[in-house]
């Protein structure tokens, strides 16, 4: 304390002498050094406090004393390498305290320079040795910095050294996949499987691997765009790899949770990417009948089965599946609402508009439900048209049902006929919008442009879909005909004509995207 008083009075030499004499009273006592260093820290003399601790090590002949104190001091003075070296010293004496050291290091590794300094120190300490805690630290630092390739290298060593038989690689792969680093995740899954992993973990790893491959293939899918899906001819070779991997899992682990999940993934790809409805029905039936399927998966598969049957034109079967979901005791609220919505859609396709509105009204009540918006939109459309032009609505719904089955060549003429036959019907602009969307999805971009332009020209005074028509038109220019200048001008026109449109925010984003600005 006297030293502190001297120091604060500006008598630095006296202060230093006082602290030296305090240490001299008990040079072999660690407590003495701790006390003096604490006083120095109180006076912001951090470098000198560190020196006192080092002196304490020499004085007591114990080189491992004051490690945590020194580490904290060095981190405070931005000497991250020094701090890491002290934490490593602590770890070498207390190998079980890896989590503790990680938590202390994490206080500084938020800074990239600190993370790099710590990595360097650990690498040097490791040399060619196979020190498991150090490797764990190194891998953890790499993951913190999202350096997945670096982490993968380290986990390989950890796995070999710990005799983990791929378990460490598998855990890493799962974390990398969760961070959307699918490439490195896929390779890690593969190596884990080949390690070989314990038999109980292999199906998990194989399912993870197939999923990562599927995601990689989706990333490589350059055909998909907001206006058009990937044509089946391109999708089959593109997603075929993932399908084969899921099929192999089914062969090797029949009647298990893994086979059920794999059937579901195949069903999804068949239905949404390949347009193979018959194949999807078979795959989804396996999920529903599979003993190993979890209830939520079974309900999802039943819902999907209903949707596939709508696409096949078999609304009776579809309704059966949706009713099964509605009646299921273990169904989740969102899945329940979707099933009710789909039943409402089936009524609509069949021209039973009152029944449809009744079903949709039930979902629209809960505004937090995922399907509330869809239910409100369809409900309002039915209300507007069912009372005034039921015949036009019936033809329109028939056309929509054809479109849902992918029968665009039949749906488009029917919609155009509706426009011709009922020019005063409120749904005429909806019909033109539907025509434009179907043409765009079929790759008939010039025709789609003409449809949207017609809507914008002929229904400028009456349609409430003008903003959406302008947005869709801009999308066709952007993604279909690849005319960025026209696309930008059309988005700008939307903003000028409909500044309060719900699509204004997206249009602004697209303009900035087209201008090459960071969003």
């Amino acid at each position: 304390m006297l030293g502190s008083v001297f120091y604060r009075a500006g008598r630095e030499k006296d202060a230093a002498a006082e602290w030296d004499s305090a240490i001299a009273t008990g040079p072999a006592n660690p407590g003495t050094y701790r006390l003096v260093a604490a006083v120095l820290v109180e006076n912001r003399l951090l470098d000198r406090a560190a020196e006192v601790y080092r002196r304490g090590r020499r004085g007591t002949g114990d080189g491992d004393l004051f490690t945590l104190e020194l580490a904290q001091l060095l981190a405070s003075t931005m000497n991250y390498s020094g701090a890491t070296a002290e934490y490593l010293r602590w770890l070498s004496k207390n190998p079980a305290q890896l989590s503790f050291v990680q938590s202390r290091l994490s206080q500084m590794t938020g800074r990239e320079e600190a993370r790099m300094a710590a990595t360097e120190v650990i690498r040097e300490a490791l040399g060619d040795r196979g020190d498991l805690p150090l490797l764990e630290l190194l891998a953890w630092l790499a993951m913190e910095g999202k350096k997945f390739e670096e982490a993968f290298e380290v986990y390989r060593k950890i796995d070999a050294l710990a005799g983990a038989h791929g378990n460490e690689l598998y855990q890493f792969a799962a974390r990398a996949a969760a961070e959307k680093a699918y490439g490195v995740a896929a390779r890690a899954y593969q190596e884990a499987i080949g390690a070989p992993l314990p038999a109980s973990l292999i199906p998990y790893a194989r399912y993870g691997y197939a999923g990562a491959v599927g995601e990689l293939q989706a990333e490589a899918d350059t055909f998909a765009s907001p206006v058009r899906g990937t044509p089946a001819t391109e999708a089959v070779p593109l997603y075929g790899g993932a399908v084969r991997l899921f099929q192999k899992i089914i062969e090797d682990y029949p009647h298990t949770e893994f086979s059920a999940k794999s059937w579901y993934q195949i069903g999804l790809i068949q239905s949404e990417k390949f347009g193979d409805r018959e194949g999807a029905v078979i795959s989804l039936r396996h999920v529903i009948e599979e003993a190993g399927a979890l209830p939520s998966l079974r309900n999802d598969a039943t819902l999907m089965m209903g949707k596939v049957h709508i696409a096949r034109g078999d609304t009776a079967k579809a309704a059966g599946y949706f009713r099964t979901v509605v009646a299921a005791s273990d169904v989740l609220p969102d899945a329940h609402d979707e099933a009710v919505f789909r039943l409402g859609e089936i009524d609509y396709f069949a021209g039973r508009f009152d029944s449809a509105m009744q079903k949709l009204g039930g979902i629209a009540v809960n505004l937090k439900a995922d399907y509330a918006n869809d239910a409100l939109r369809l409900g309002a459309f039915l209300q507007e048209n069912a009372g005034t032009v039921p015949e036009a609505l019936r033809e329109f719904s028939a056309a929509e049902f054809l479109a849902r089955q992918g029968k665009n060549t039949e749906a488009v003429p029917l919609l155009l006929a509706v426009i011709r036959s009922y020019p005063q019907a409120p749904l005429v602009d909806d019909a033109l919008m539907a025509v434009g969307a179907l043409q765009a999805s079929a790759g008939l971009f010039r025709e789609a442009v003409a449809s949207y332009e017609r809507l914008l020209a002929e229904f400028r005074e009456s349609s409430i879909e003008l903003d959406r028509a302008e947005f869709n038109l801009a999308e066709v220019y952007q993604y279909g005909t690849h005319e960025p200048a026209r696309a930008q001008a059309t988005y700008e026109r939307l903003l000028a004509d409909h500044p309060k449109s719900i699509l204004a925010g997206r249009a602004r984003q697209r303009i900035r995207q087209l201008r090459g600005e960071s969003l």
């Binding site: 502190s4 120091y7 604060r8 009075a9 500006g10 109180e42 006076n43 912001r44 003399l45 951090l46 981190a75 405070s76 003075t77 931005m78 206080q107 500084m108 800074r111 700008e492 903003l495 000028a496 500044p499 204004a504 602004r508 303009i511 900035r512």
Partner: protein, 425 residues
């Protein structure tokens, strides 16, 4: 001869006027019809950056902007979601006539050049630490970051407008010691500042910060514009007043404060405050008695009743305070900060008070001249986050597009762009 000369001048003025009015204009209204007040300032700044001149119509529809109609302006307004009105030449002339009528408290200020903007922030700072950078980023106004090295190396001369981050110029590291002495971020900040001070040859951080404050004061004196918020306001003045004394306790600089520091404060060196008492307790989260209400009284503030009121100035006689107080409302919800407001009786008489919390001693917003430049102080941390605390998430300004509190910040950015015109007498 005289008569013909004055006729020529009149003709020239008429010609200029007719040129200005001969084309279509764009009016960016700043009243309640504006969809995004904050981005509107960005449009004005962009137009200035591209060489256009803008008329700031003080007190007309909340302080609207009028500029020549160019497609790139209207397109940009659309893209950024800023409401605008195309005005014919005749329509614009009628607006100008209304604004310039003698019996209206309105006027036109011509903005000519985009100010070069700098923000004083530490390296590694996050934009959400500071309301001004949030506002600049949101409004898409470009700015450079400066720190102690740049200030001391004379880089301020390259800028027209400087904003001080909520920095502590007293060298007490924000007085966070009592609450955060053990926190890693606090220790890292202290270490970094000590390292910087040593590198520049200062024994203490307080000395470094005082030197920075003096350099900034010289920049203002030479014609610069300085805007400060939160603790940068009072600590800046305290640092200037404490030029010849040590107000820092040992826990901050390793030696005791000068026992007579209060008597040694030199208030002639400060910008806005005088006669204040510096806080002696190193553990109290307060620098002086300037802050009103004091930080330890903030707990009893009620956000529901905390509002401040903008003063109204004569647009034709006091254009500067009028510019700084342009808004679509004149009662604005309050917000706290390490320095929330300023005690009225400690403000120099030469300073103009722009906003106060009515019925209290608290001033929220003030402006003054210093040498050939000016300064503006705005109390509080974040106009849309009542009680911003360390570690709080950033304010998303897209949810506060019409924030009156943030508008006051952006008024300051455009103010240096104004062409100086002769005062009416």
């Amino acid at each position: 001869m005289k008569r013909s000369r004055s006729l020529a001048i009149t003709l020239l003025l008429l010609l200029q006027g007719s040129q200005a009015l001969s084309q279509e204009k764009v009016l960016i209204p700043m009243d309640l019809s504006q969809t995004d007040h904050l981005k509107a300032y960005g449009i004005a700044y962009m137009a200035l950056s591209r060489g256009l001149e803008i008329d700031w119509l003080l007190n007309y529809r909340g302080g609207s902007f009028m500029l020549d109609a160019h497609d790139f302006i209207t397109t940009e307004c659309l893209v950024r979601g800023v409401a605008f009105i195309r005005e014919s030449a005749a329509g614009a002339a009628s607006i100008y006539a209304e604004v310039q009528r003698e019996d209206n408290n309105m006027d036109v200020v011509r903005l000519e050049k985009a100010p070069r903007v700098a923000v004083y922030v530490p390296p590694g700072f996050q934009p959400w630490d500071d309301a001004v950078t949030l506002a600049l980023d949101y409004a898409e106004i470009k700015y450079d970051k400066l720190w102690d090295d740049e200030v001391l190396d004379g880089k301020l001369a390259d800028y027209d407008w400087l904003h001080l981050h909520h920095e502590d110029f007293t060298g007490q590291y924000g007085k966070f010691y009592a609450s955060f002495a053990g926190a890693a971020w606090y220790q890292a900040q202290v270490a970094q500042l000590e390292q910087e001070a040593r590198k520049r040859g200062f024994r203490k951080v307080a000395e470094l910060k005082k030197a920075v404050a003096r350099t900034i004061a010289r920049y203002i004196g030479a014609g610069g514009f300085m805007f400060a918020m939160c603790s940068a306001t009072d600590t800046f003045d305290i640092a200037l007043a404490a030029e010849n004394t040590d107000i820092c306790d040992a826990i901050y600089d390793g030696d005791p404060p000068d026992p007579d520091f209060q008597q040694k404060l030199d208030f002639s060196k400060t910008l806005a405050f005088t006669g204040f008492t510096v806080e002696k307790n190193p553990l109290r989260y307060e620098y002086s008695d300037i802050d009103e209400p004091p930080s330890d009284m903030l707990g009893i503030q009620n956000p529901e009743t905390d509002y401040f009121t903008l003063f109204e100035f004569s647009a034709k006689f006091d254009p500067v305070p009028t510019m700084l107080t342009q808004n679509h409302v004149n009662v604005i919800k309050g917000f706290m900060g390490q320095t929330t407001g300023f005690r009225k009786n400690l403000i120099k008489t030469s300073v103009t008070i722009l906003a106060e919390k009515q019925g209290t001693e608290g001033v929220k917003y003030l402006h003054g001249n210093y040498g050939r430049g000016t300064f503006t102080y705005y109390g509080g941390h974040d106009p849309e986050d009542y009680q911003h605390a360390v570690g709080n998430p950033p304010t998303d300004l897209s949810l506060h597009k019409n924030s009156p509190g943030y508008r006051l910040i952006l008024n300051n950015i455009l103010f240096p762009a104004a062409r100086k015109k002769q005062q009416k007498t």
